[in-house]
C-alpha cells in the first residue's frame, strides 16, 4: 500500500513537471501525454460498450449511490449533476448519459483521501437516464436517474 501511494505520488509529480516543460517546448502532442485519458471508453457510442471499456459491465445496482440532478432540465446544455456515495474506498466515479452520442460524459479518479462525492455540469441531448458508475475495491456499482430535457444541449 505504501509503495503504491509513493509510486502514484512520484508519477504525478514527475509527469506534471515534465509535462509543462514538454508542452512549453512544443515537443509533445497532448494525446501522447495523456496516457491515462480513457480514449477508448469516451469514443464508444453505446452505453454497454462504454461500460465494458471502463471494465464496468455487469455492475450491481446500489442504493448507496445518490444522484442529485433535476427531474426536468429546462436547458440540456447545462445539467447540474452531483453524485455522492457512502461506499468506502471509491477509486473512480463515472457519469454517463444513456442517449448522448457518446454516453460517457466524465470520469473521475479519486485518491484514497477523497470522499465519494463529485459535482459537475453536463450536457444532455435529450431526455435520458443519467447513470453513475462507482468503482471501489475492484467492484462496480451503479445507480440511475431519469432527467427530462426540454431543450437539447447537443447540436443546434
Amino acid at each position: 500500500m505504501v509503495s503504491i501511494k509513493r509510486r502514484a505520488f512520484l508519477k504525478g509529480s514527475i509527469t506534471t513537471g515534465v509535462l509543462s516543460v514538454a508542452i512549453g517546448a512544443g515537443l509533445l502532442k497532448p494525446n501522447v501525454v495523456l496516457a491515462a485519458w480513457p480514449e477508448d471508453a469516451f469514443s464508444k457510442k453505446s452505453l454497454a460498450d462504454a461500460l465494458a471499456a471502463l471494465g464496468a459491465s455487469g455492475a450491481a445496482e446500489s442504493g448507496d449511490i445518490k444522484i442529485k440532478a433535476p427531474d426536468i432540465a429546462e436547458n440540456g446544455a447545462v445539467v447540474p449533476i452531483t453524485v455522492s456515495t457512502s461506499i468506502s474506498g471509491v477509486e473512480k466515479i463515472s457519469v454517463m448519459v444513456e442517449k448522448n452520442p457518446q454516453p460517457l460524459a466524465a470520469n473521475f479518479e479519486l485518491s484514497s483521501k477523497c470522499e465519494g462525492f463529485i459535482s459537475t455540469r453536463i450536457k444532455m441531448g435529450k431526455t435520458s437516464d443519467v447513470i453513475a458508475v462507482v468503482q471501489a475495491g475492484g467492484k462496480t456499482f451503479t445507480a440511475k436517474k431519469t432527467v427530462k430535457v426540454t431543450i437539447g444541449g447537443c447540436g443546434g
Binding site: 497532448p30 494525446n31 446544455a77 470520469n107 479518479e109 485518491s111 453536463i122
Partner: protein
Amino acid sequence: MAKNSIKIKAKNKGGKTEVKALVKHVMETGLRKDKKSGKKIPAHYIKEVKCEHNDSVVFTANWGVAVSKNPYLSFKFTGGAKGDSIKISWVDNKGDTDSRSAKVK
C-alpha cells in the same frame, strides 16, 4: 491562449476540505454546425483536470465533450488545513493548458 481561466474556492470545515472550481472554456462538442457556413465546428474541449493538494494529486477528472461549457467541478477530501495549497491544472484536446493555485480557507 488560456490565461486566468480557473477560479478556485477551497474551504476547510471539520477536517474536510471542499474544493469548488470554475473553468472558462468553450467545451465545443464537434457535433454543432455553424449556422452561417453550415460547416461543423471542430471539437475543442478539456480532457484532463488535475487537482493537487500540497503537490500531491488528490483528484483527477477525465472529461469528454458532454461536459458543459465553462465547466464546474467540485469534490471533497479528508485532511487539509487552512493555508494549504490547492493547484488545479487542465489540458484540452488542442494542447492548451492552464493552471492556478489557491489557498485553503
